[in-house]
């Protein structure tokens, strides 16, 4: 199968970077957050991904803590893990901005440079490989949609199908 290796190696390696595989294997902030002020569930019926995101806002509307639980493919778990890493310490506004930026980047529908500049995407860029795999974009954005609805206080599970 040399042909396979030569041709398709890059895209796949780009999708499953070491950082992604690492977060998928050892997700950060995994588990329930008992004193969460906000929570939302995300379901991706396509692959059966199902996760719940927990956020604790402190008095000045900053994200003091975040975690998630659930199960899913490597992309959705790594994305959730990276998300929790990133949003702790952000203000609510910054968190919502990063929702807009990340989903925009991944779907290609929205590339608001201004926002982009204002927030340090850091490791989130590791998700960029998903853009070559349109059927997987929903896995990568699932946790972000859950973040968005958690903050907006929606209570029904959101689905990305």
């Amino acid at each position: 199968m040399n042909a396979v290796d030569i041709h398709s190696g890059d895209d796949l390696r780009d999708l499953y970077r070491e950082l992604i595989l690492d977060h998928a294997r050892s997700p950060r902030h995994f588990g329930k957050l008992d004193d969460a002020t906000h929570t939302a569930e995300g379901i991706n019926p396509l692959c059966g991904d199902k996760l719940r995101l927990f956020v604790r806002l402190d008095a000045d509307e900053k994200i003091a803590a975040a975690s998630f639980e659930g199960s899913g493919c490597a992309i959705s778990v790594a994305s959730a893990s990276l998300l929790t890493d990133m949003i702790i310490g952000l203000t609510v506004t910054q968190a919502l901005d990063s929702f807009a930026i990340v989903t925009g980047r991944l779907t290609g529908s929205d590339t608001d440079r201004e926002l982009d500049a204002a927030i340090d995407l850091g490791k989130i860029k590791a998700l960029d490989g998903v853009r070559e795999f349109p059927s997987r974009v929903k896995c990568a954005t699932l946790a972000w949609h859950a973040l968005n609805s958690a903050i907006h206080g929606q209570s029904t599970p959101i689905s990305t199908e």
Partner: protein
Amino acid sequence: MTQLKKSDVRLDTECRPDFPALHQDISSHPLVYLDNAASAQQPSTVIDAVAYYQRHDHANVHRGVHTLSYRATEAYEGARDKIQSFINAAKRSEIVLTSGTTESINLVAQSFCRPRLAAGDKILITHLEHHSNIVPWQLLCEQTGAELVVAPINKSGELRTEAFDQLLTDDVRIVAIAHVSNALGTINPVKDIIAKAKSRNIAVLLDGAQSVPHMPVDVQDLGCDFYAFSAHKMFGPTGVGVLFGREAVLDAMPPYQGGGDMILEVSFDGTTYNDLPYKFEAGTPNISGVVGLGAAVDYLRSVGMTRIAQHEQQLLEYMTRRLEGIDGMRLIGTATEKASVQSFLVDDIHPHDLGTILDHQGVAIRTGHHCAMPVMDFYGVAGTARASLALYNNIEDVDRLIEAIAKARHIFG
């Protein structure tokens, strides 16, 4: 590498050229299509029959005196005859054309069962059913207060027949069971089940979505009351399916949907329904789809269902052996009697990731719950990867699958 005998079972060499969709590259690799249990590809004869119908013969059926309407009606009703003979139904009036297995089962739930169910009556299904053979019964139970009873399976994915026998009590009004499981490939012992149910006068519906494309089916020999299947799994178009029902049973049922064609006379004082099968075919049917299904039946008969079953059986054995040879492989669904489907998990690679990596090598499999979540729950998994075979698959396809899995293990390694 183990080889199949190259004798007359190499159906694929004969059939592959007939299927245009198979001859394309996906991610720069020749397509290996192993998602047949979800939907099969169509031979040119089907695609061309549909297009020819549209270009030359289309009009609405049944009520027209002009030539095109006559031709359309002949084509539509001619397909019904082909289906009748394909599954050996006694009468053409027993062949109800629907939009698919799902509608066929809903029709039985609503028209056959709903009017005669009382609270406490039971509907018996099994743990390995497709959602299409679960949710219609759940809706019906909500509507009537009937109870859904689920016969258990064992770790191999086989029906536990002694438990089934105990659940088959006199308050069961219908047994609805897959002939072949789409998630596990299990062939259920349907003849036994029908015999037991019949001895208690209990109606039986078989979900034949996964059997009709893969083995000879004779509804008279089976003796079931209803048999449901979909054209798109048997190399025909989407949006068409069949409900076989025994005439006496269909006759006693009220219509399912109301509309044109299912009536003899409509007035505001009262409406009389049409004869079978038209009573159950309200509205303009999927004429071109039915024409395509007729062509698919012709195709299957020209190849021969027994040869197809043999070919797929040998290929399934080969595939199972090759999969077993992979480290970290967990096969889901290991019944003794199986057809054309193998579900599996490798290491702790999520099936969805596996699916992406395989697709990137041109190998199309399905991943997820396969519309059989209770099966997934039973095995304690969120989903599986599933490779499912059809008459055009071959050893090379299986070899490509195996190599692609190796690559996935390497990436996740």
